[in-house]
């Protein structure tokens, strides 16, 4: 299908449009259900009343100041992770090469943690710096006559483990109460999000989302091979740099509002590509899947009785089996 505007034209596959719409509808339904879900029982009419500002103060507070920011943060962070994952998977032509597997998320968390300990704030700049430094270090260490994805993945996993240990070390330097809060954040959590988180993540997305979608055109060429990308007249090295910068910024954004949320970046791309098919990078569907997975994980975490479970525990429970399955598939195909 072709969308034509004056001076502009875009090419879509029919399947991508149908799949994208279906995912968007699913997300809208999940969003609606998640507003109702929670420890404090509310009926649909009460919820509608809070939006019209006609409910009592407690109900108003629960829906507008507690549940809604949490949901909108989950969707924003999930979309950021899903998009970043799909970008890396496409660029490096390997489903294992995602920021959460190869240490970029861990780097962003460490940076954010360090910024918080040292200055008491600057979470986003800290995450951004941590993510970029890790990306640069892992790429430099993996570089050997060009970029070999499997080297990058192995070195990235090493970096991820090292950085987690580093984060643990940093935790011993702070008081126990803060450390307990930080520990939850390091797993990835959406507890006690407020409107400032929502504003941060969605403001970031307004800039990064269009850039990421613009990059889909070169990325779908880079998905073939380096030689073909160059042969088609695309500037390979600048594009790689731009894709990495954009994806790391997305990860930093997600990390600074929700913690690293393990495996969201990793599972979104493969799920989206399986739905859309046709060898497309499926970036918009990957963002939607990321949002959906995060929202569902947070709903599961919220509905857990007694303990306030961090959402990261649930995303890890979804992601880890997918990781094992992909490893097995790739091992069998010999494409690891």
């Amino acid at each position: 299908m072709i969308l034509r505007l004056p001076y502009l034209s875009f090419l879509f596959s029919r399947r991508a449009i149908v799949a994208g719409s279906a995912l968007a509808i699913l997300l809208a339904i999940t969003l609606t259900v998640s507003v109702k879900l929670g420890a404090f029982p509310l009926s649909w009419s009460q919820i509608i009343a809070t939006f019209a500002r006609r409910a009592d103060d407690v109900q108003q507070m629960i829906v507008l100041d507690h549940r809604l920011p949490r949901i909108l943060t989950a969707i924003g962070a999930g979309a950021a992770f899903g998009l970043a994952g799909a970008m890396f998977q496409t660029m490096l032509r390997n489903p294992l090469a995602t920021p959460d597997v190869i240490g970029f998320s861990a780097g962003a968390s460490c940076g954010a943690l360090l910024a918080m300990i040292l200055t008491g704030g600057f979470i986003l700049p800290g995450a951004l710096a941590g993510g970029l430094v890790t990306a640069a270090a892992v790429t430099a260490l993996a570089w050997h006559n060009g970029l070999q994805p499997y080297r990058l993945i192995l070195i990235g996993i090493g970096a991820s483990l090292t950085l987690s240990a580093g984060a643990d070390l940093l935790m011993t330097k702070i008081d126990a109460l803060t450390a307990a809060e930080m520990a939850k954040w390091l797993i990835g959590t959406l507890n006690t999000r407020d409107w400032s988180d929502v504003r941060l993540v969605w403001l970031g997305l307004t800039f990064l989302f269009p850039l990421a979608l613009w990059l889909q055109f070169p990325l779908s060429r880079m998905a073939m091979s380096d030689d073909i990308t160059t042969g088609l007249g695309l500037p390979l090295s600048p594009l790689r740099l731009l894709v990495t910068a954009c994806a790391v910024a997305l990860v930093a954004l997600g990390v600074s509002v929700a913690g690293p949320l393990p495996f969201v970046a990793f599972v979104s791309g493969p799920i989206a590509r399986r739905i859309v098919r046709g060898g497309s990078p499926a970036m918009l569907p990957a963002a939607t899947v990321g949002a959906l997975v995060t929202l569902l994980a947070d709903m599961a975490a919220r509905s857990f009785p007694i303990v306030q479970l961090p959402a990261g525990v649930c995303t890890a429970m979804i992601g880890a089996p997918v990781l094992m399955w992909l490893l097995l598939v790739q091992f069998r195909k010999g494409t690891l």
């Binding site: 073939m224 042969g231 046709g278 060898g279």
Partner: protein
Amino acid sequence: MSQPSRLMAKDLSVSFGKSSVLNELFVTIPDGSLTVIVGPNACGKSTLLRSLARLQSVQKGQVVLDGKAIHRQSSRSVARRLAILPQMPTAPEGLSVHDLVVRGRTPHQSALRQWSKADAAAVANALDKTGMADNAHRPLESLSGGQRQRAWIAMALAQDTDILLLDEPTTYLDLPHQIDLLTLVQKLNRETGRTVAMVLHDINLAARFADHIVALKDGKVHREGSPAEVITEQTMDQVFALPCTVIADPVHGTPHVIPA
């Protein structure tokens, strides 16, 4: 050397680490003809082709396209004049032949202008010329090796360039499919007047299809010219260290190598 040429290598040296692969090599690819580069393993055939397509960083000398050093021109502008099909190309799983061929239009498109009438015409023409129109909506991995290679050639054709470079396009194809593919390439060269240069392993197939043969040895052009000039007992012995008898192919009249 008297033939006009838009693509040439001048004093080209390429090395990987300490081992030198191309050594102060000069070559010209004659316009409009079908050139085949031959030579023993590790003689630098593929490296030469990749250098001609600006895929290889070179240590010394330069590749000249249309009178200017190729690496000083914008990659996009080069891609509108020269297409390269690398060895054993790969595509993401599920990509259809049609979508692959569409990607050949990249140098004529941008992220904001992804489709024009010229794109549609070039894609349809490329699918038609390679006989892939009926398979256009099949995913690449469901095709046989020969058909898949045709799809890749269709992508390079859709790029709509005057010069087409192919790096061992017959690798892993059986003999009938090799003949089929080379016949297609020859037909494209004859019908569209495109300059074609390719690397081939098989000397007899090179002799049969080429207008011009470049024989490489130790990173230099050992001999070049028409198949009759290059494929001789003497050259085979010097280039490949292969004692042989060369006869005229009883069907096509081209030189035919029979190893001793």
